[in-house]
């Protein structure tokens, strides 16, 4: 009886953290793969092989706090002609013809109490890859950084004393949380 009690306690003590860590580990694995998109859009081909500028599609990133998801019309700009025979491109065409937008699965998510400003970072000369990772090598885009506050802060701390009066590195909570 006593032994049983003791045993139970021990099991509890070991099992709980083990399960917890395992869960988070699997979660990580899942994240690394990246979500399945309605169209298998290969960033590695567009940004990598073809060397297209990120801002060609995501033009909002330098003009607006939000980097826009390109409208279908932007895709069709090329794909009316370009490799129109590929199955994935045909999928795209179907969306276009049926006049539907593509329901992309978001990869980068911020809680609504964080106001990230793409424009400021792009204009301060931060390359897309610094945050989004080697997208030009990603067949499927996945969440590259942790997107946790610590990750933001680390970078801001490092660059804090850059001599760029035009784009100072802000260390003020209010800048992102308002």
């Amino acid at each position: 009886m006593k032994r049983a009690l003791a045993l139970a306690t021990v099991v509890m003590l070991i099992a709980t953290p083990a399960v917890a860590s395992a869960q988070s580990f699997w979660a990580q694995l899942g994240a690394v793969k990246g979500p399945v998109q309605p169209i298998k859009f290969p960033h590695d081909i567009h940004a990598g092989k073809l060397g297209m500028d990120c801002l060609y599609c995501h033009y909002g990133a330098e003009k607006s706090p939000l980097a826009n998801i390109p409208a279908v019309s932007i895709c069709m700009g090329c794909h009316k002609i370009a490799v129109a025979d590929r199955p994935e491109v045909q999928k795209l065409a179907q969306y276009w013809d049926s006049g539907k937008s593509i329901p992309w699965v978001p990869v980068y998510m911020l809680p609504s109490h964080v106001k990230f400003n793409h424009k400021r970072h792009v204009r301060a000369g931060i390359t897309c890859q610094e945050c989004h990772g080697p997208v030009e090598k990603m067949a499927v885009v996945y969440q590259y950084p942790s997107l946790k506050m610590g990750w933001c802060i680390t970078c801001h701390r490092e660059r804090q004393n850059r001599a760029d009066s035009q784009n100072p590195t802000i260390m003020d909570c209010l800048t992102c949380h308002h």
């Binding site: 006593k2 942790s146 946790k148 506050m149 610590g150 802060i153 701390r157």
Partner: protein, 463 residues
Amino acid sequence: MGENEITYEPAMTPDDVGATEHVPPAMTQKSLNDDILRMIGKPGKVWWAVFLLDLTILAIGLIAERNQIVQGIGVAGHTRPVMWASYVTNFVFWVGIAHCGTLVSAILFLFRSHFRRAVYRIAEAMTVFGVMTAGLFPIVHLGRPWFPYWLFPYPTQRGLWPNFRSPLEWDVFAVTTYLTVSSIFFLVGIIPDAAAARDRAKHWFMKLLYTGFSFGWTGGNNQWKHFYSAYLYFAALATPLVLSVHSVVSWDFAVAQVPGWHSTIFAPYFVAGAIFSGVALVINLLIIIRKGFKLEHIVTLDHMEKLSKLVLLTSTIVGYSYLVEFFSAWYGPNAYERNMFWWRFTGHFWWAAWIMFSCNVIFPLALWFKPVRRNMPVLFVLMLLVNVGMWFERFVIIVSSLAHPFEPNSWGVNYRMSWTEAAILAGSFAWFGMFFLIFVRVLPAFSIAELKETLAAPMRRKR
């Protein structure tokens, strides 16, 4: 081995034992053990009845708290400007209750006032449970009670730390420290008695339990020596806390600039008040226990009288503090302060102020009379009133000060206690009561070891 062969160096000689009038006649080492350990063991119907009632109230409190978490703190009566009310009042109240334990056990121990022996275990238990109750309220009163850990300084990926300038942050340390020290003190003191209980325990679980509490105590000379020195050190360690903890709590208010809070007198005033209410509650508990367990010969009227004198003393200190506050408000140049104190006794919460004043200053004057101090029913009622008064003291300080701020625009929004708050207040008493009820049934509620010191030490008999 027979009792007559027991031999040890008494911790103190009969001289420093001194006041032996506490020792009732015909009390032997054995009878003492019997009397006190009698309390332990199978509880009777009465105890179960009380215990169940207690759990029911606690359950109601918990339901109210759950509802508050789901709906939002708005179910409590807070308003702008009265953003703190009954929860903070309860917090201060329970921290105050927790004070007398350390006072009785540590300070009186250092002062060698031996009447404490009969009462300090109860007082210490009350302290520990009091802090455990008080500690709930800072969390209960949060708008987002699921983030209390943000108040603790721990390294996080966010790179954020709490604000060490905030009195609330000081509270975190004050309360946790106090809980740690007082419970250690409590556990150390209980070691020899737990051993005694262990030797009598029948059920394996109880044996296991007492073995745990008694830390393998055998009653050897060596152990006694270390025990007493350890006890002395802890007493010395705990003593400053009696003053510091409630001073820190008082700074929650004194540091703010709200008229009625912004005062330098708060620290001593709060400490005195804390001891005041604490001792009062101890007296109440003792009256019940000595009657309920027929221990009048162990906790004698002399003990009760000495405690009530302590109450009388602190009562006068508290009364003095009130008067000084009013005097300086009247005499000082601060118009806000003056206006505040006038409003406190004539404004919307005048009744609370008068309850506070009469219960804490006027009624206790009866304790000047010996018959009152030795009349248990009267004393019981009086002490109840004292604690009502002390609860209202905190209520007055917190609510009525906040209700009348600098800005006339927010005058007249009056706080009304909601059912949720009432339920949670009752629940807190039930929470405290639950631990205490278990305590009296499970652990020796009186220090056998120390009481034995008051008995004449048994000498080796000549053959």
